[in-house]
């Protein structure tokens, strides 16, 4: 494998890892606030559809982005109502959200576009175009550094750079602001937050709203950046892989970057090399596809460092009287 191939693989790992990263950070805000979210898949799908549909109709990727975030937000509101206001089972609500998105997107897509549950192909301004970083063309012939700059760092859509910027931002918000401290507290011990006179309900709604925005970005990137339009079930389990990455990263932003890029790289490798012959064993493509899930189970089992979720996760908060 030569250097150029490695760069190409890493480049496609960044592309494939970006929706996972955005969805993973989305899940991080919700779960750190004590709201389990297995509905990331559904929110991404809803965002992918609405961004694709609006971008197709208006010809503007930016309007698509607004619609995508709106789509994800509508499901976030459902999940928030179920798990915060009605104190229902958050896991059941997540399952419902996923099915709602899976059925609703196809139903509306068919009704609006009559193309068998997809949106029209997007082109031009309806997609987020790759951005060439300053000076990338000039240095493209410089060995190693120039290649890395031109082929790996430059040439992604704005959403990729936003996703990467979200990592330090998330870290800063969670660990360096008062809001972040309260958010983490409400996921570990909501009684203490309540005692301090801060509204648990409002904090949790704020957290799931951030989840809505980020999963909206993730879905929008799928339909208008990575692909050119929405197709039925286009998230293809990415919401669950993001959930796996979140556990893998033990609910922390910087490891989340590592985990999602690792899973992105795995996908890039299995796209490029369907079968990997290691000499001793031949790894089939199906194994490569299952690796993120297997790794998550191993991590959950606590054989390689234990993953401990936020303590109040999944429990509705009942105010004491």
């Amino acid at each position: 494998m030569d250097f150029a191939t490695i760069i190409e693989l890493l480049d496609s790992a960044v592309r494939l890892g970006t929706p996972l990263l955005l969805a993973c950070l989305a899940g991080l805000f919700s779960e750190r606030a004590g709201i389990f979210d297995i509905g990331l898949e559904g929110k991404m799908l809803m965002a992918a559809f609405f961004s694709g549909a609006v971008a197709a109709v208006t010809g503007s990727a930016w309007l698509g982005l607004v619609a995508g975030i709106g789509g994800a937000m509508s499901l976030t509101l459902v999940h928030g109502l179920a798990s915060i206001t009605f104190r229902g089972n958050q896991l059941i609500s997540g399952v419902a959200v996923n099915f709602l998105a899976s059925g609703f997107t196809v139903l509306i897509a068919q009704s609006w576009f009559h193309q068998g549950g997809r949106t029209p192909q997007l082109s031009g301004n309806a997609r987020f175009e790759p951005i060439t970083l300053p000076g990338a063309d000039a240095v493209k012939d410089v060995p190693v550094i120039g290649q890395i700059y031109n082929n790996l760092l430059s040439g992604h859509t704005i959403l990729v750079y936003v996703a990467f910027a979200m990592v330090p931002l998330t870290w800063w918000v969670l660990f360096r602001t008062r809001f972040g401290l309260r958010l983490r507290a409400v996921g570990e011990n909501p009684e203490s937050v309540d005692t301090a006179g801060v509204s648990v309900i409002r904090l949790r709604y704020t957290a799931v709203a951030i989840t809505g925005v980020l999963s909206g970005l993730a879905g929008t990137y799928l339909a208008t950046g990575l692909a050119a339009g929405f197709v039925k079930e286009m998230t293809a389990g990415r919401g669950y892989i993001a959930l796996a990455a979140l556990i893998f990263a033990k609910w922390r932003p910087v490891p989340a970057l590592g985990a999602t890029m690792l899973f992105g790289l795995l996908e890039a490798i299995s796209n490029r090399y369907p079968n990997i012959d290691l000499g001793v064993v031949n790894l089939p493509i199906q194994f490569m596809q299952a690796v993120p899930y297997i790794l998550t189970v191993v991590i959950l089992a606590g054989f390689i460092g234990k993953a401990i979720p936020p303590r109040a996760g999944g429990q509705p908060y009942v105010k004491e009287r």
């Binding site: 297995i38 109502l81 896991l91 419902a96 099915f99 059925g103 194994f287 596809q289 089992a301 606590g302």
Partner: protein
């Protein structure tokens, strides 16, 4: 403490929730420019209007009874088994291996062996998440989700690389021998005259009904069932009473996985006569809606499975006769899960307080 009458808990509230789910679905149908009344008519005609329709409705219901019971049994032990899909997938593999392994002389023997094969494979797929939950505290919801994906990959590998007959391009097993084909409703005495040859409902339906009775007996009439329910209500109380949490979680999940795996006698052995990719078609997930709707009681599961069988078959007819895609059923399914599951308190809290207040007022009067 005042208690609300039972008919409200198991009758009125689920029905009201179902009604809301249907009303919203009707609004969705209106939004996409179709007539909801017409849609209901097409669904009822298609699913219940002919023996042909009933044959399909009961065929789908058979799948959902198995997966619904699977979710219900685990739920009694307060385990949310979201892995019915993967367990049923593996059950299919078990059934296919049994059917292909041996030239079975008669379908009845083959069926018994296939039931053991399907249940064992399904239970095995539930065993690892169950063990990890019981011994290492790994959240069963996440591990069973992961096992759904791992199961799909495993089946894909088995079909493409191992079980595919030489020279075939299809990722599917060889056809099962004729001697393993189960009798359909058409082949049965008494009812056979009503059903046509193409009807997929088969003897598995009666096995599913039998499974309802057995699960009822297990949960409410055996020592193990008592332990499962006690554990599900309060883990600490059960532990104090000498009930081993590891044993209960394992037992409940193995039974649950076995029931999900048993589904394969219907969809793989009963009609497909070979194992293909994605033969479960989401039935494992529908089991969640069925168990919620049926309030985890086998009789409720039976009724809810019939309802979803009707929706599934009716939805298929809808896609044929109108421009409404069959994904409408996914939306209805989601709304049923949402309202009977996650939004349950929305109606329950006000209705219960209304009845408590009324019975108090009566006493005082």
């Amino acid at each position: 403490m005042e208690k609300t009458p039972k008919w409200i808990d198991v009758g009125l509230i689920p029905l009201l929730n179902l009604l809301i789910a249907f009303v919203i679905s009707g609004i969705v149908v209106l939004l996409i420019g179709e007539n909801p009344v017409q849609a209901i008519k097409v669904m009822v005609d298609g699913a219940l209007g002919s023996p042909y329709g009933w044959g399909y409705t009961l065929f789908y219901a058979t799948n959902f009874i198995f997966t619904g019971l699977a979710v219900a049994v685990a739920y009694h032990a307060s385990q949310f088994n979201i892995g019915g899909e993967g367990q049923a997938t593996l059950g299919g593999l078990g059934v296919a291996l049994v059917c292909l392994a041996f030239p079975w002389p008669h379908w009845s023997i083959a069926l018994l062996a296939a039931m053991i094969g399907g249940a064992l494979f399904g239970a095995a797929w539930a065993a690892i998440p169950a063990y990890l939950q019981a011994k290492r505290g790994s959240h069963i919801v996440i591990t069973t989700i992961m096992f759904n994906f791992i199961g799909a990959s495993l089946l894909n590998y088995m079909l493409v690389n191992v079980l595919r007959p030489r020279g075939s391009m299809d990722p599917a097993t060889a056809r099962f021998a004729n001697s393993t084909h189960l009798p359909t409703f058409h082949d049965m005495p008494l009812i056979g005259q009503f059903f046509g040859k193409s009807v997929p409902a088969n003897i598995s339906f009666f096995i599913a009904v039998l499974a309802c009775f057995l699960v009822w007996g297990l949960i409410w009439r055996t020592r193990l069932g008592y332990a499962i329910r006690a554990f599900g209500r309060s883990e600490s109380a059960a532990r104090y009473a000498g009930i081993s949490p590891v044993k209960i979680v394992m037992a409940a999940m193995l039974i649950s996985g076995g029931l999900a795996g048993l589904m394969a006698i219907n969809n793989v052995m009963g009609t497909g006569h070979r194992l293909v990719l994605n033969s479960v078609e989401g039935a494992g997930f529908i089991g969640i809606a069925v168990a919620l709707m049926g309030r985890n009681h086998p009789f409720g599961v039976f009724l809810a499975a019939l309802l979803f069988g009707f929706l599934y078959q009716g939805g298929g007819e809808l896609a044929l006769e109108t421009t409404i895609p069959r994904e409408l059923i996914t939306v209805i399914q989601a709304l049923v899960i949402l309202f009977t599951g996650a939004f349950d308190n929305m109606l329950r809290a006000p209705i219960e307080s209304f009845f408590v207040a009324r019975s108090k007022a009566k006493k005082e009067a």
